[in-house]
């Protein structure tokens, strides 16, 4: 019962394109041709039960809109790019160069508790002797502190740097220079009497050697090896180019091709193979069974409480089996990201670059371009005309207030009507054409009828505009559709252009509705239900499927469906009586194809820009140049769950 009804998902048109639009700098011309090739695809009914549909259906709120492509953009057809990196704890921005060299963690004073991940705070540890002042990192939640791992700091700033130079327990780590010096000395085999003492300390140090030492050793070894082998490489001894340099790849490729070609007349020993690391000085750590025994002994002594949980171990970036091995975890940086259209590379969203600001500079969300659709059950369910009493009182105000229909249990085979309201967010009036398969796809096809498939929605103008510019707006504009007798404009003609006209308009509309229909307010084919400033409501009639009987064919067969509504013979080919429902098969989902046509004001881009190809420039009645635009997409209305016939 995780679904809450009704819902609306919009299918991003990028899913119907067989390949993703090529990434810039290829022209967007190509993708448009692709789209045209897919016209046949468009003819197919969108099936929300297709496993692929999961990848293209999004709530309207999650979608963006590219103004240049005039198309909906979903996370799949938009590119993300990182604008800046910042620490969520201290809100300092890290330059991307620093992120590349120092990693994606805060290098200031921000750390997380290795026990519970709370942010750690730097606290002074007061002593009777004021000169003895030291600082610790402590967790305000679980009371862990860096004292647990024997670390205290001399200064309250640059904690990360101080921590880097300290092992757990407080002993200093060797700096890189010191390590290199020690290694060189050992290599030379210096055992002078004068350095005897130092050597002793080195040996002591070896016992607590850690991962950093291994890494620095193996790194030094390979640096040496690179220097030696590249001297004999076919391209000569340019030592300054390491394997990390940009030209490295081409040189390596060259090395392979050249070596194969020239091997016949080039002495082989010129290319000296790289030696493998050998010995501890070169960073090789051999398996030591004694170490394992030590770990077991340690486990015995510290017990269950002294070991780190798996989760805690995973937060550490090195082996930490015991609580005493844990290190404070530097806070992970976060990013601010912009999104671009994958086709034309225009920016769709861009947050303000200031870290502390949550505002956006550019935000082209689909909500501002695509009509929102809301579905409501129509109550009371219209009774047959004979049973309905003659209308005397004014009909109930629309839309109805309390839906008595339980969307979690729609009765099978009983026609149910729903009000579908479309709100136009655009500043131009639009013509909407809705199409839906007569029978929903899937094993159990429900019969769906849109009583008024084509209608107009007014422009999203200012509230006051409606009242002030009454007649002109009502009479001009796009010509009314065949079915939609624009009640809104007719009422507008009569109402007074005063600020208080809204109520009067409403009353007039209601009176007109009563007069027009000459009967109870009832859904009528080809007529809109109600409309307002920038919204129009139509009626959708659904006959939920019988879950005990499968549809004649799994394919939506329009003619067959319309010819014998409500009566399905069970298919002899399929095993009869298969009533076991798959997950959510009883959910009534209606695929609806929405096409929106409107005439927009001409923009400079349309005159000579790339969009001029398909945009048809027309002149309206007043002689203004307008651009005809069209937007079409599939969406899915989740109506409810069908209940089984008891």
């Amino acid at each position: 019962m995780a679904l809450s009804f009704p819902y609306l998902y919009i299918s991003c048109p990028c899913a119907s394109e067989t390949t993703l639009p090529p990434v810039w700098p290829y022209s967007n011309r190509l993708s448009r041709e692709n789209a045209e090739d897919d016209d046949e695809e468009d003819e197919k009914t969108f099936d929300p039960r297709n496993p692929r549909a999961n990848y293209s259906l999004y709530p309207l709120e999650h979608l963006l809109f590219c103004e240049d492509c005039r198309q909906i953009r979903c996370p799949r057809c938009a590119l993300e790019e990182v604008l800046c990196w910042y620490c969520p704890s201290c809100l300092f921005e890290s330059p991307s160069s620093a992120v590349k060299t120092e990693g994606n963690r805060c290098t200031r004073n921000c750390f997380q508790c290795p026990i519970c991940t709370s942010p750690l705070s730097v606290n002074a540890l007061e002593k009777p002797d004021p000169r003895d002042l030291s600082w610790i990192l402590s967790c305000p939640y679980c009371a862990w502190s860096s004292l647990d791992i024997g670390i205290r700091f001399d200064r309250p700033s640059a904690i990360a740097g101080q921590l880097l130079r300290m092992r757990n327990g407080g002993q200093p780590t060797l700096t890189r220079k010191e390590r290199d010096g020690e290694r060189d000395r050992r290599k030379r085999g210096d055992t002078n009497d004068a350095e005897e003492e130092d050597d002793h300390s080195w040996k002591q140090h070896k016992e607590i050697e850690d991962v950093d030492d291994h890494f620095s050793n193996i790194r030094a070894f390979y640096t040496d090896q690179l220097a030696e082998t590249s001297a004999s490489s076919p391209f000569g001894g340019n030592n300054e180019f390491g394997y990390g340099s940009p030209g490295a790849l081409s040189r390596i490729m060259g090395l392979y091709s050249r070596a194969g070609r020239l091997s016949s007349h080039r002495p082989k020993d010129k290319i000296r193979p790289m030696r493998e690391a050998f010995g501890e000085d070169e960073g090789v750590k051999l398996f030591d069974a004694k170490g394992e025994d030590e770990i077991i002994e340690r486990m015995k002594s510290v017990g269950w409480e002294g070991t780190a949980k798996l989760e805690q171990q995973s937060w550490q970036n090195r082996d930490a089996r015991f609580l005493s091995d844990l290190r404070p975890v530097p806070t992970l940086l976060r990013t601010k990201r912009a999104r671009r259209c994958r086709t034309c590379r225009h920016i769709l969203t861009k947050p303000e670059s200031k870290v502390a600001s949550t505002r956006y500079r550019i935000r082209l969300v689909a909500l501002n371009y695509v009509p929102t659709m809301t579905l409501k059950p129509l109550v009371p369910s219209p009774a047959p005309p004979s049973a309905a009493p003659a209308v005397t009182a004014a009909p109930t105000p629309l839309p109805p207030t309390a839906p008595s229909i339980n969307l979690q249990a729609l009765p099978s085979l009983i026609p149910t009507q729903f009000l579908l309201t479309l709100h136009n967010p655009l500043f131009d009036p639009v013509r909407v054409t809705l199409a839906t398969p007569a029978r929903t796809p899937g094993r159990f096809g429900s019969k769906v009828t849109i009583l008024c498939p084509q209608f107009d929605i007014g422009a999203n103008t200012d509230m006051w505009d409606e009242a002030l510019t009454d007649v002109a707006a009502g009479s001009s504009g796009s010509e009314p559709g065949p079915g939609a007798k624009s009640r809104g404009s007719a009422a507008g003609n009569q109402s007074q252009p005063t600020p208080g006209a809204a109520a009067a308009l409403d009353a007039a509309k209601r009176a007109r509705a009563a007069a027009d229909f000459d009967g109870p307010v009832q859904a009528e084919a080809g007529k809109i239900w109600d409309s307002g400033r920038n919204w129009t409501t139509i009626v959708l009639e659904v006959v939920p499927a019988n879950l005990d009987e499968e549809s004649p064919s799994s394919k939506p067969n329009k003619s067959a469906a319309t010819n014998n509504p409500g009566k399905h013979d069970s298919n002899p080919d399929e095993p009869p009586g298969e009533t076991g429902l798959e997950e959510d098969e009883d959910v009534l989902e209606i695929p609806v194809f929405v096409r929106i046509n409107y005439e927009a004001d001409i923009s400079s881009e349309d005159e000579d820009g790339p969009a001029a190809d398909d945009a048809v420039i027309v002149r309206n009645k007043r002689g203004e140049k307008k651009v005809k635009r069209e937007l079409a997409y599939w969406c899915v209305l989740g109506v409810g769950r069908i209940s089984k016939i008891a």
């Binding site: 007061e126 009777p128 679980c142 009371a143 862990w144 502190s145 647990d148 409480e305």
Partner: protein, 239 residues
């Protein structure tokens, strides 16, 4: 643990009001504190009790140690007994002096409503004193629910935590917000309980071994008390 002074019976039965002894220097805004019970309530010097605290001494005396801070909306004292917990209670080691009185008139009525069909014989036999003692410098944060028998020096019980009856909480423990400690637990000194529900436990070894840290904590709580003494208004007694 000081022995409880013999409980005096309240003259008016409906809301039994415990005898209160407030030592000088303590902050105890008596008129805005909810108290119920027969056993004595003792507030030792420099303890601060916020308004809107609920004390229950129906089952035993309650003692608030010196320098303790009891925040508002917290509940101190053993609440109405449930049969199951009572049985558990009988297995606990006895540290409490024998009750001065085993049955309390008037209490039985409330009990009967709570327990329903519990047998009378078992009830009278099980009735024993369940005292609550908070030691020096204990901090009880808002909304906490403390039925523990003993909370030792310097322990912090944070907002919304629940400490079951008969618990012994050691020195300088920390019970994080909304943790539940089941009845009859013994927490060793320097235990930190954090996480969800009954929580994870760890011993703050560093806090235990670092010299001077305990004094530092007590000093900080005394600074806290001194501030609260200025802030918490004790309205003048009426009559």
């Amino acid at each position: 643990m000081s022995t409880a002074t013999p409980a005096r019976r309240s003259a008016v039965p409906p809301p039994p009001r415990p005898p209160v002894k407030v030592y000088p220097g303590a902050v105890f805004p008596e008129s805005s504190i909810f108290m119920i019970g027969y056993y004595p309530l003792t507030i030792e010097p420099h303890a601060v009790v916020h308004p809107r605290v609920r004390f229950t001494t129906l089952h035993g005396p309650v003692r608030i140690g010196p320098g303790a801070i009891i925040s508002e909306k917290s509940m101190i004292g053993v609440q109405y007994t449930e049969q199951k917990q009572q049985k558990q209670q009988q297995q606990q080691p006895e540290q409490i002096p024998p009750a001065t009185r085993t049955t309390v008139p008037g209490q039985g009525q409330g009990q009967a409503q709570e327990q329903g069909e519990s047998s009378e014989g078992e009830k009278s036999q099980a009735r024993k004193v369940e005292s609550v003692t908070l030691e020096r410098g204990v901090i009880i944060e808002p909304g906490a629910y403390v039925e523990a028998e003993l909370v030792r020096e310097g322990t912090v019980i944070e907002a919304g935590a629940k400490i079951g009856r008969g618990c012994h909480i050691g020195r300088f423990c920390k019970i994080c917000p909304y943790i539940t400690i089941p009845p009859g637990e013994n927490l060793p000194d320097y235990t930190v309980v954090y996480g969800n529900g009954e929580g994870e436990r760890r011993i703050d070894h560093a806090g235990a071994t670092e010299p001077g840290l305990d004094e530092l904590r007590l000093r900080m709580s005394s600074v806290h008390v001194n501030l609260l003494k200025k802030l918490v208004q004790v309205p003048p007694k009426k009559g």
